[in-house]
């Protein structure tokens, strides 16, 4: 912890960055995002297993960007998000620093996309054993069962869009649900509106989601949105041998057109 705080003090004092976005004390035992803008505040930084939010979501928030160059305390998913955002031309190299604390508390500073790529390949970026187990349970369901499964879960959806807000890759300034000429997705949180909203969001994240799980954690009514995304991650890996968030320049499985595509329908 002291390494992280010292690193933040050093960066802020040297004006190498204007803000360190990290974790601090939250309600009860929880942790929350803190925005450290002076060396004197660096003592608020914490790092432990309760730090789970993917702070890369703040890379796309105008009010946070406005603060200046950012150092971001990064868990593995945060690093994948940075690379994915880079590959989608949303952030530029050298625009930010990543601070990666390890189990011992030592902090690695990654200043370039190349450095982040080199770090990310050393991580285990696959679904965890527990995630694979949960996905297998889902996959053994038949189509009808799956439909019922999602209808039941989506029946609780409030359309509060917490999933979208918490997702660092849902950065569109105008989301499809906000387009009403034509109205692609019904606004009301009724069965059809909820089904179309959640499926649309999952499809827009296919080949892009880096599996941080913040959508599910954000959902106030406990819809297992991560399952949709993990299913798509697994499909994209199987069919395209592609994993998102691994490189700052990448062809995306679901949004890259090649004239010599193997499929006929796309030509």
């Amino acid at each position: 912890m002291e390494d992280l705080r010292n690193k933040a003090r050093e960066l802020l004092a040297a004006k190498a960055v204007q803000v360190v976005v990290g974790y601090g004390r939250g309600t009860g035992a929880s942790r929350r995002a803190v925005f450290i803008q002076s060396a004197a505040e660096a003592g608020e930084l914490l790092f432990d297993n309760a730090c789970r939010q993917n702070l890369a979501v703040y890379l796309m928030k105008p009010e946070v960007r406005k603060l200046g160059k950012m150092a971001l305390v990064a868990i593995p998913a945060t690093l994948r998000t940075i690379l994915q955002l880079a590959s989608e031309n949303q952030i530029q190299d050298l625009e930010l620093l990543a601070l990666v604390p390890d189990a011992s508390g030592a902090v690695t500073q990654l200043a370039t996309f190349a450095a982040i790529e080199a770090h990310v390949v050393l991580q285990d970026n696959d679904l965890s054993a527990a995630e694979k187990g949960e996905l297998q349970k889902y996959e053994i369901m038949g189509m009808e069962q799956r439909r019922q499964f999602w209808e039941e879960h989506f029946s609780r959806c409030l359309k509060c869009y917490a999933c979208r807000a918490a997702c660092p890759l849902c950065y569109c300034s105008r989301c499809t649900v906000e387009c009403n000429q034509p109205q692609w997705i019904p606004v009301p949180a009724h069965d059809l509106g909820n089904l179309e909203w959640n499926i649309m969001r999952a499809m827009h994240l296919a080949g892009r989601c880096i599996n941080c799980g913040d959508c599910s954690r954000a959902c106030p009514v406990g819809i297992p949105l991560h399952l949709l995304n993990q299913k798509l991650i697994s499909e994209v890996y199987t069919h395209f041998n592609s994993r998102s968030g691994m490189a700052a320049k990448a062809d995306h499985a679901m949004s890259t057109f090649k004239p010599n595509d193997a499929e006929d329908f796309i030509r």
């Binding site: 939250g26 995002a33 703040y58 928030k61 009010e63 609780r156 359309k159 509060c160 917490a162 009301p188």
Partner: protein
């Protein structure tokens, strides 16, 4: 009417449940659904979850559902026919086991829906609910009812208030005529209050701020952009807080269908950027900090000024539901301590 205090055995309460159901009333109560507790229709007292601090959603769904039809329309050769809702078919509903904060929230909703032109649909639903509150024996770090005029055993808003006295005994306070009617079928089974010590069963919720202090600071704080920016930097602008809030009443109107269709009322939230976006493209609240300010100002300044009622009952749901831990008690404390 004066509050009438009696006591009731759990088995009599069970009988009351079946009486309500046979009278054709629906019972909406906290129910364990997977790993969370939320309001759902129940068929017996056994289905009701009584020991959670709070449900995820608020019981406002009984009077202000997340989607509801306002009217149906049919256009034939330029003639538009409207079909209004038949208010008579709205179900009589007993809301059972809601907390005193939630019971108090109906007054805030009513103040909004009755403002200027009373909302017929809302009023019809409100008339058909019977509110059976349950005092809180536990609170958590998100609760702040005592800072906004409520309390873990407060009667306001309930028709009947129960307090679990342990050993299958409940203290039963009859607060309104509606409440008296609701327990009439078991009146023989109501015991006189045997000096039950209600206070000893209640959660302790320490006041964190005073409404007087908040109101005196808020108006002057409106223009302090840096205060609101600092307060809302981690807010991501979703609608979770508004949708679980028992008093948030903003809605959007959507027409569905072509020549023949329905006009629907759907929840909306001032946290969304789209909420105030004008057709011209201009947005008077382009920043999340302004939207966060609006949320607090509306509840703690505009509603008390215009409707003489607070827009917050201290249930803490907004803070529990927030994906980034925006904790309302802390924010209100910061307002109280601000030097505008």
């Amino acid at each position: 009417m004066a509050i009438e205090t009696t006591s009731i055995k759990r088995e009599t309460l069970e009988k009351l449940f079946s009486n309500w159901l046979s009278e054709g009333k629906r019972i909406l109560a906290p129910k364990k659904l997977g790993d969370h507790v939320d309001f759902a229709l129940v068929g017996s007292l056994a289905e009701v979850s009584l020991d959670q601090v709070q449900t995820v959603q608020s019981p406002k769904i009984a009077v202000f559902p997340r989607v509801e039809e306002l009217l149906a329309f049919q256009s034939t050769d330029g003639n538009v026919q409207l079909r209004e809702r038949d208010l008579a078919v709205l179900p009589e509903t007993v809301i059972f086991g809601l907390r005193p904060c939630d019971a108090a929230a109906f007054a805030s909703l009513k103040a909004i829906f009755d403002w200027d032109t009373p909302d017929k649909l809302f009023s019809a639903r409100l008339e058909k609910i019977t509110v059976v509150g349950l005092s809180c024996s536990r609170a958590d770090e998100y609760c702040f009812c005592t800072s906004v005029g409520g309390g873990p055993g407060a009667a306001a808003g309930s028709d009947i208030l129960l307090t679990d006295m342990g050993r299958e005994d409940f203290l039963l306070e009859i607060i309104s005529e509606k409440g008296r009617q609701a327990v009439r079928s078991v009146s023989a089974g109501l015991q006189p209050d045997a000096a039950m010590d209600k206070e000893s069963r209640l959660a302790r919720v320490t006041p964190a701020f005073t409404v007087e202090k908040i109101s005196s600071v808020l108006a002057a704080l409106f223009d302090d952009a840096s205060f609101w920016e600092k307060q809302s930097l981690r807010c991501l602008g979703c609608g979770a807080c508004a949708y679980v809030c028992p008093t948030c009443a903003c809605f959007d109107i959507q027409d569905e269908g072509g020549a023949s269709g329905k006009r629907l009322r759907c929840w909306d939230s001032c946290g969304f950027g789209l909420f105030t976006l004008h057709t011209s493209g201009h947005n008077p609240r382009p920043l999340q900090s302004q939207r966060w300010r609006q949320r607090l100002m509306h509840k703690f300044s505009y509603m008390p000024e215009r409707q003489s009622v607070l827009g917050c009952v201290g249930c803490g749901r907004c803070s529990r539901a927030c994906p980034v831990d925006m904790n309302m008690v802390e924010h209100m404390r910061a307002v109280a301590e601000a030097k505008p």
